[in-house]
Amino acid sequence: MTALRPHAEDQFADELAQLAAADDRPRPPGWRLSPQAVVTYLLGDGAKVTPKYVGPRRLIEVAVSTLATDRALLLLGVPGTAKTWVSEHLAAAVSGDSTLLVQGTAGTAEEAIRYGWNYARLLAEGPTDAALVPSPIMRAMRTGSIARLEELTRVPSDVQDALITILSEKTLPVPELNTEVQAERGFNLIATANDRDRGVNELSSALRRRFNTVVLPVPASAEDEVEIVARRVAQLGRSLELPEVPAALEEIRRVVTIFRELRSGITEDGRTRLKSPTGTLSAAEAISVITNGMALAAHFGDGTLHPGDVAAGIVGAVIKDPVSDAVVWREYLETVVRERPGWLDFYRAARDV
């Protein structure tokens, strides 16, 4: 396999097959697995099935129940809270196909959600079935599988409205051919949206009503977050074929601690309140800071991860707004980092950056 990043259903094909074989509970029409098995696939069973998502079980249960009641699912959260990751794995587990994907952008046109035309054929043959180019969502309706729409709130409002009929009547009329595509059972839509984009292209209440919303939070405990970061760093390091650097758990813990403290605005011991910077400081960013630090250590350093290797990355992640965030960071360095035992190296490195 040479793909830089294989699809979820390929990467975890074994686990999916195993779960399907052992699954004796009723499956909703069109589903490859029962809802319980889907939840197990995402959260892991502690043995063969690895956890894909580390977080509250109830959220995943609500998400899976939503899909089972053929309501569309809207995953909401700040950047880096595994929205896309969860939606990909949900689609892979439910319908075995996570590729029916529409990336929402400010330039997403209605064709990307409904259907487009092959203009050469359209001119030659006029409107025919063969000239019609179905969108991923239309294909998902035909095959009865899960379609995914990324960054829904980036899509212009008039284009978003194309979803209303699809979601409420589960049908997509094609007036040019005087036909329609009716969704097969098992069709559903998972959309993701960024919390920070609120107000850019706010969903109309008509559309909002057709979604159940699940808010993915930032990891609840430091241990969870360290685990997430450590696991992903290991996976990424392998697939990017970075030279082996023992990912120092201590540094991971430090990065996670700093991110958590700044994000929540309070130190882990609950004693000192802090200002929060404008950036999101998600687990995903922590992962990239560590990966970056490891690449630095492997290629330019002595092969072990030092505070200096991550300091630059951390400062870059924290200071997004050069004025206000710089104050936040300096305040944090002086009031918290400096006085914390064992952090002196990091303090020096961060100050020099």
């Binding site: 249960e61 939503t66 089972a68 009503r209 159940n212 919303t213 808010v215 305040e331």
Partner: protein, 768 residues
């Protein structure tokens, strides 16, 4: 002989329903309920319509209202329902728990009784303030809520039925009760008693429980002598102990020698919010609103609940349609199925409402939680209910400090160095936090560090009502004031608000509130992005720190907060100093002045160093507005961080070609501000300015003059003249020549007037 034991889950609607059903079937002659026997008299109020749950029995020591405990009842409490049934059917009711008098009595476990320690009052601020968990959780009418009497740790399961439910894989004990007990129609209470016996065999015994159960058994024996058909409603935990055969002498031995204090009981109104906060320990009632719903709605529990939730959202202007309710109901049911549960419970309906109706807005979820899950129901008691302990405590305090409430206003002068006056001042300050402004501080002569206080006292009749309202905060003045201040500190939005509260804490002597307020101060300081607010807050803190001990207050902790405040100011100041308008520059200058003074007061060389380093680097910045720049240079000069030569260089800079005149003017103004008087008396400064002026080349002098005039023009005419004289006159150290020449003739001419004024003749000595 028929004798039935109903082991209930306190505040369990399922238990409540079952108890009423069983009582109706049994028709007992007498009903025994777990609760303080001193409150037997108060049962009659239950029949009237004036008493509306949620209410609580409040018991307190007659001579020390600070020792108090509450026994809350909601409409879904089994005890309440049982009492209601008994009163309606004219069956006598007796509370048969250990009398509260034993706990107040002072012997045994209830030893923490320093007078004035507001333990009960403090406890009423919520859980955690010294309340023993099991006491709090088993809050029904079992052991008193909130007494800190049993200091023992938590040994036995706090919510035995909850334990059973957990063992069965349920997170909500009520749902377990519904599923397992109600729906199967098993002989409920026998099964529960059996299960409890099993659990109790494996659990450690609590000495306090043994004592209470001994008392319960002795009451039971007494009742048996007169009645045949007895019903007992108590916490399920106690059932095995009550049915067990125990020799009489064991019980009497346990109970012997316990002293009894005098206690008074009354009903007070309660709220679902308090009910929820009491038992913030996982068991009991975290969701009184949901239990109320479970108890009152007979069918379609989930749809009705979600309809209510939609109503809550609609009332706040969130469009919520019936379609939402339908989808939420479907989701709740799907979730229940996914989790393998026969019916959707609170967790499912909450999650469904969150996903479908709240659009992921945490505020809406919180709204539903507050309005519906907890509920805002407020109980009521009849007006004829006896007096509250807070009023009694106030009366006692008034006697101790010898201050009588009088309706006519009078002035009171307090010298805080005297003990009694200090106590009076504290009492008045505490009352003010409770909205009982019996004394108003006289305007004017107030300043930290003084030991005099002037008050105007006037007692107004409506204060009595305010005391009743205030008694929800606690049973003593100090306790209630503490609770009130803590609450306000928690909800404060602005830094200045918290600084005021901190001052209140010191003035009113509320040491228990102090850490909370400090924490709030720290929080506000950290979150306040405006460095001006921080700078404004610092001087008051520094003053308190320096002069606070006049009131003999403990200032530990304040120093840390003040230090961290200064650090934050130092971190934030540089970025707040860029691109300032004239007004903002003035604000900054004033703020910096205040902080500079405060660092002087703090007398901490490290902090002062930090501050000076900060302003040093700030003063060097070329983009800084002239006013603060001049000011900072001056501060640094005064602090000895810059030598005269460097200051002269800096003084010269603004007056060079590259500087716009306005900047230069502001700089000079900033540098020389502080009044002309300083220039008159500070020789070094005057010399510096003088030398600098002399240095200005003649060609440039015309340009500099207006700038100087702008600053010097603000000084008093007298000051200006004095400065001029100092500059023109001889330098200090030179002898004062020429002062001796007196025009005798003119001097003599004032003598008649002086004589008239002084009333005696004045003349010049001949020898002069």
């Amino acid at each position: 002989m028929s004798e039935r034991f109903y082991g209930v889950r306190h505040h369990g609607p399922g238990s409540a329903r079952a108890v009423v059903r069983e009582l109706a079937a049994q028709q007992p002659d007498v009903l025994l309920v777990e609760g303080p026997p001193e409150a037997d008299e108060l049962v009659r109020w239950v029949a009237g319509s004036g008493l509306e749950p949620p209410v609580a029995l409040l018991g307190y020591a007659a001579e020390d209202p600070g020792r108090a405990a509450f026994w809350p009842f909601a409409v879904f409490s089994p005890e309440w329902q049982a009492i209601r049934w008994a009163v309606a059917n004219e069956v006598p009711v007796r509370f048969f728990d250990l009398p509260y008098a034993f706990r107040v009595g002072g012997s045994g476990p209830g030893g923490r009784a320093a007078p004035g320690v507001p333990d009960g009052a403090l406890d009423s601020t919520g859980p955690g303030a010294g309340a023993v968990p099991e006491e709090t959780v088993e809050s029904g009418s079992g052991p008193p809520v909130g007494t800190s009497d049993a200091d023992a740790g938590r040994h036995r399961p706090v919510d035995p039925i909850g334990e059973l439910a957990t063992a069965a894989g349920y997170d909500d004990p009520e749902r377990w009760w519904e599923d397992v007990v109600e729906h199967r129609g098993v002989p409920v209470f026998d099964a529960i008693a059996e299960a409890m016996t099993a659990i109790r065999e494996g659990a450690p015994e609590e000495p306090d429980d043994l004592l209470r159960e001994a008392y319960m058994r002795s009451v039971l024996r007494e009742v048996r002598r007169r009645h045949e058909n007895i019903a007992v409603v108590c916490g399920a935990w106690h059932v095995p102990a009550l049915t067990r055969k125990v020799p009489v002498r064991d019980d009497t031995a346990l109970l012997k020698g316990r002293r009894k204090g005098k206690v008074v009981f009354t009903w007070v109104p309660w709220t679902y919010g308090r009910l929820a906060s009491w038992s913030g320990y996982g068991a009991g009632v975290s969701s009184p609103g949901w239990y109320h719903h479970l108890f009152t709605s007979t069918d379609s529990v989930v749809p009705r609940w979600l309809v209510d939730a939609a109503g809550v959202l609609r009332a706040e202007g969130v469009p919520t349609s019936s379609a939402h309710v339908i989808e939420a109901t479907r989701l709740a049911e799907a979730l229940a199925t996914l989790r393998g549960r026969p019916l959707a419970g609170l967790a499912e309906v909450t999650e469904a409402a969150e996903a479908v109706m709240c659009d992921g807005e945490p505020l809406r979820t919180a709204l539903i939680n507050r309005r519906l899950v907890v509920g805002e129901r407020l109980g009521a008691v009849p007006d004829e209910m006896p007096a509250v302990p807070l009023a009694r405590d106030l009366a006692a305090r008034q006697r101790t400090v010898r201050l009588k409430p009088e309706a006519t206003g009078r002035r009171l002068d307090l010298d805080l160095r005297k003990d009694n006056d200090l106590r009076r001042s504290r009492l008045l300050h505490q009352l003010r936090t409770l909205d009982v402004p019996w004394g108003e501080p006289a305007a004017g002569r107030r300043g930290t560090g003084t030991f005099r206080e002037e008050w105007t006292l006037r007692w107004q009749p409506e204060f009595a009502v305010r005391l009743v309202e205030g008694s929800m905060w606690g049973t003593t003045v100090a306790g209630a004031a503490t609770a009130r201040v803590v609450r306000r500190a928690r909800t404060a939005r602005v830094l200045a608000e918290v600084t005021t509260l901190l001052e209140t804490c010191l003035l009113a002597d509320l040491p228990e509130a102090y850490p909370e307020v400090l924490a709030a101060l720290d929080t506000r300081a950290a979150l306040d992005a405006d460095v001006h607010h921080l700078m404004a807050a610092l001087p008051a803190l520094a003053r308190t720190l320096r002069y606070g001990d006049v009131r003999r207050t403990d200032l530990a902790g304040l120093a840390t907060v003040t230090a961290s405040l200064l650090k934050r100011i130092c971190a934030g100041l540089p970025s707040a100093a860029g691109s300032l308008s004239d007004d903002a520059a003035k604000r900054l200058r004033d703020g910096v002045d205040g902080v500079h003074q405060a660092t002087g007061l703090l007398a901490d060389p490290k902090l002062r160093e930090l501050w000076l380093v900060t302003i040093e680097s700030l003063a060097r910045r070329p983009d800084l507005h002239g006013l603060p720049a001049g000011r900072l240079t001056r501060l640094l000069l005064d602090a000895g961080r810059l030598d005269a030569a460097e200051v002269r260089r800096r003084l010269r800079l603004p007056l060079t070609v590259g500087t716009p005149p306005a900047h230069a003017a502001a700089w000079v103004e900033g540098f020389l501000a502080g009044g002309g008087l300083l220039l008159v008396h500070d020789d070094a400064l005057l010399a510096l300015v003088d030398e600098w002026l002399a240095d200005v080349p003649a060609a440039a002098f015309d340009d500099v003059l207006p700038l100087l005039r702008r600053t010097f023009g603000t000084f008093d005419a007298g000051e200006r003249r004095a400065i001029g004289e100092r500059v023109a006159g001889p330098r200090p150290g030179a002898a004062q020549s020429g002062a001796g020449t007196v025009d005798h003739e003119r001097a003599v001419s004032v003598l008649p007037v002086l004589s008239a004024l002084l009333g005696r003749e004045i003349r010049i000595r001949e020898d002069a």
